[in-house]
């Protein structure tokens, strides 16, 4: 088995991809739920936001140009999959396109995201040499060192990157399934919690003396 990390291919869920068609002409399907986008070819960088009256029922792709280069996306993929790798029942962060989301986030023209931009970009640039051209052992060591680091800049980057990854992951349908969110379905009535839930609460009340 090669030491090289699996190459990250930009992807996005099919529903969003369909909504984007016409916006991103270079899109080409490469299998279920995976779309690869063509490289950015010239043109002016767009830095506007989506405005105060965007379409809500069928959101359009965020209009601002993306700033991350392939090395940064690749680094983000390794990091995101360190936070949330695939397991027997849930997909990996990179397979859900989380690196693309990180790109969307750090490229955004809004104050919160502009504040995060240098934190994430400097962090990715700092991690790239330790992850992209390293042996598997070196890579594992570099990843493990993140959470253990006492360096302020590293801690800030790790906290932000991990938080964005977790948020981006669990806001997807796959994330819903993994965390046990079973709502967002039309119902004729709300029956309230099950007898099992009520019994579990009663047991807790006993412990709390309530």
């Amino acid at each position: 088995m090669s030491d090289a990390p699996e190459p990250y291919v930009s992807k996005i869920d099919r529903r969003t991809a369909l909504a984007w068609i016409g916006v991103v002409g270079a899109a080409a399907g490469v299998g279920t739920g995976v779309v690869v986008y063509g490289p950015i070819t010239g043109g002016e960088r767009i830095t506007r936001g989506y405005g105060t009256d965007p379409k809500l029922t069928k959101p359009e792709k965020a209009p601002w140009s993306r700033i991350m280069i392939p090395e940064q996306l690749q680094t983000a993929a390794i990091l995101a999959d360190y936070v949330l790798p695939a397991n027997a029942t849930a997909p990996s962060a990179s397979s859900l396109g989380i690196p693309d989301f990180i790109d969307e986030w750090v490229s955004a023209p809004y104050p919160d995201q502009l504040k995060d931009r240098p934190v994430i970009m400097n962090g990715l640039n700092g991690m790239a040499p330790k992850l992209l051209k390293a042996s598997a052992a070196e890579r594992a060591a570099a990843l493990a060192a993140l959470a253990a680091s006492s360096d302020r800049t590293t801690k800030k980057f790790w906290k932000k990157f991990r938080g964005l990854t977790i948020g981006a992951y669990y806001t997807t349908e796959a994330g819903f399934k993994d965390i046990g969110y079973i709502g967002n379905v039309a119902r004729t009535s709300d029956p309230g919690p099950s007898a099992e839930v009520k019994a579990a609460l009663e047991a807790q009340f006993k412990k709390l003396g309530l």
């Binding site: 105060t52 906290k159 977790i166 997807t172 965390i179 119902r187 709300d190 309530l210």
Partner: protein, 566 residues
């Protein structure tokens, strides 16, 4: 339009404007409604079942959409493009939430529909502070009944007779959805503190109601409701008003002035089209301002004439005075006892299913603040957002399966407690015309002045203390830094988006701008039918009262019109 002969022009299409249009058009009057924002149709524009993953930045709030991408608010929020306002130097901060859309803030509001109680109309008589209304609870009660039956409100329960917390008569309310796990959970702590927990009154159709769809028990109301199961002016009031054939709606019409005739009566209004910049004047037999307390005051103050050199109806300097908001405070707790509960669908009916009305009326003197707050409590296994890492309680090390396990375990284990309390009107809270600043069309803008009083900051401190006790009794821990100093824990002025006052009702033209029916003292065919007429700011969220008072005022106005006295 010039050929139409309107009985009334209504400025604004939210709770006050929508309700007055509903009643007047049904009474046979020809009405022209002017709305500053664009046309908006929740039936086709509500992103009800969209997931955050489909939205830019996973739906988080931005300056373009401060309450999140999917919030119904159009063209606005804390800032409206091209329409600034100012806050006076030396003032405490003031925030002003404005949408620019048909239906106004009824599209995104919290649907909490609580009646003011008997004490709320006579606060000064009780404790000597603030001002009494010229009306009593009994004057408004029949209109509350009618309003609840019209808009659809949940929260039916056996009459409890709690002080100043009115029970709606049988037949007014539908039953709420049952309490969710976190609601069953917190109730136990309040019960141990002898504080009653009762069904929330929510403007959501939870049962069978003629002509209305029942809630789908999914998706947040603030996104808008495509099936019209919650109350929005755009789904509940404006369609039946349009169906009478008596309502004309003009959108993008930013009204800036009430025009007077030589006899000193209102002959119409002037507005600028927000899209084209063109100015128009329209006429009618009467004018109703329901633009929201701030805009209503701004229009009056900008309507200067030889008769009213300081603004219409402002001879006694009452316009803009006694601006009020609700007192807001909040603490969130995390509860090990809620960890690992079996998966449940906690989407619920949009509003909270239960809440805590103010319980301390009898202890007010000992508490050190004169007026109380109710508690709105949110929690449960709601659709995940970008804030999910907050569930980890500061842990920065877990990854992989251990991380997944901790998140799964803690999902739904946090509860947010929010106080919403009464503010006593004071001389330091008001709005006026800024002598310099103007909007894109050259119209002078509002300048706000704000200062919380000690009754409010002490109340905020008490709320935080209460929340901490509840969290502790439930074996939880507060999240993040908790501010116990009321002056720091309290919300900013206007932040609760309950700004009211500015053109209050009263007994005569020296103590108020309008009479108990919203009819202005100075210009008899000029009416105000929004929150501007309110005399006090009870803890109960104001929308239901704005609706009930607007209906009462519109009914009186229709009677005057029938007598030919407009």
């Amino acid at each position: 339009m010039a050929t139409e002969n309107y009985d009334a022009i209504i400025v604004g299409s939210g709770a006050g404007g929508g309700m007055s249009a509903y009643h007047l058009t049904k009474s046979g009057m020809k009405v022209l409604m002017l709305e500053a924002g664009r046309n908006y149709d929740p039936r086709v524009e509500s992103p009800m079942f969209n997931t955050n993953a489909e939205a830019p930045l996973r739906g988080v709030g931005t300056p373009d959409k401060p309450f999140g991408f999917y919030d119904a608010t159009v063209d606005g929020g804390w800032e409206v493009p091209n329409e600034p306002f100012t806050v006076a130097e030396g003032s405490e901060p003031f925030k002003w939430w404005r949408p620019r859309m048909l239906g106004g803030r009824t599209n995104h509001w919290g649907r909490i529909a609580l009646r003011f109680g008997p004490l709320d109309f006579k606060p000064k008589s009780r404790d000597g502070l603030g001002f009494d209304w010229p009306i009593t609870y009994d004057d408004v009660a029949p209109w509350y009944d009618k309003t609840e039956k019209l808009i659809g409100v949940s929260g039916a329960a056996p009459a409890r007779g709690l002080l100043n917390t009115p029970d709606s008569p049988p037949g007014c309310l539908m039953e709420s959805a049952p309490p969710r796990a976190f609601e069953i959970f917190y109730e136990r702590a309040f019960k141990a503190m002898n504080i009653p927990v009762i069904p929330m009154h929510g403007a959501v159709v939870t049962g069978q109601m003629e002509g209305r769809n029942t809630c789908l028990f999914a998706t947040p109301c603030g996104r808008g409701c495509a099936i019209g199961a919650n109350f929005q002016s755009t789904t509940v009031l404006l369609p039946p008003a349009m169906a009478t054939g008596n309502l004309t709606i003009t959108t993008n019409a930013l009204v800036y002035q009430v025009d007077l005739d030589k006899a000193g009566k209102a002959k119409g209004v002037s507005y600028v089209n927000r899209k084209t910049g063109e100015h128009h004047s329209v006429t009618a037999k009467s004018v109703i301002l329901a633009a929201g307390s701030g805009e209503t005051a701004r229009i009056l103050l900008n309507s200067k004439s030889s008769l009213f050199p300081n603004g219409m109806c402002n001879t006694h300097g009452m316009v803009g005075r006694y601006l009020m908001d609700s007192v807001g405070t909040g603490v969130t707790g995390q509860f090990p006892a809620l960890e690992g509960l079996p998966a449940t669908n906690d989407d619920g009916q949009g509003t909270q299913h239960t809440y805590i009305p103010w319980w301390g009326y009898e202890q007010q003197k000992a508490l050190g603040f004169a007026r109380g707050y109710h508690i709105e409590i949110g929690g449960g296994r709601r659709m995940p957002s970008m804030g999910m890492a907050g569930l980890l309680g500061g842990d920065q090390s877990l990854v992989g399966d251990a991380l997944r396990e901790k998140l799964r375990n803690r999902f739904g284990s946090t509860i947010g407690f929010d106080g919403r309390g009464e503010m006593i009107p004071n001389d330091d809270c008001y709005c006026e015309i800024d002598p310099v600043a103007k909007d894109k069309w050259g119209i002078p803008v509002l300048r706000f002045h704000w200062k919380w009083g000690e009754h409010e900051t002490n109340q905020a401190a008490h709320a935080v203390k209460t929340f901490l006790e509840v969290i502790d009794r439930l074996g939880g821990k507060p999240e993040g830094h908790v501010e116990t100093d009321g002056k720091k824990a309290i919300s900013k002025g206007g932040e609760m988006i309950h700004e009211i006052g500015t053109a209050r009702m009263g007994h005569n033209d020296s103590d108020s701008v309008v009479n108990q029916y919203g009819q202005s003292w100075a210009v008899p065919n000029l009416f105000i039918m929004d929150g501007a007429t309110m005399v006090s700011s009870p803890d109960k969220n104001p929308t239901l009262s704005i609706l009930a008072l607007a209906w009462r005022s519109a009914d009186n106005m229709a009677t005057i019109a029938k007598q030919g006295a407009l």
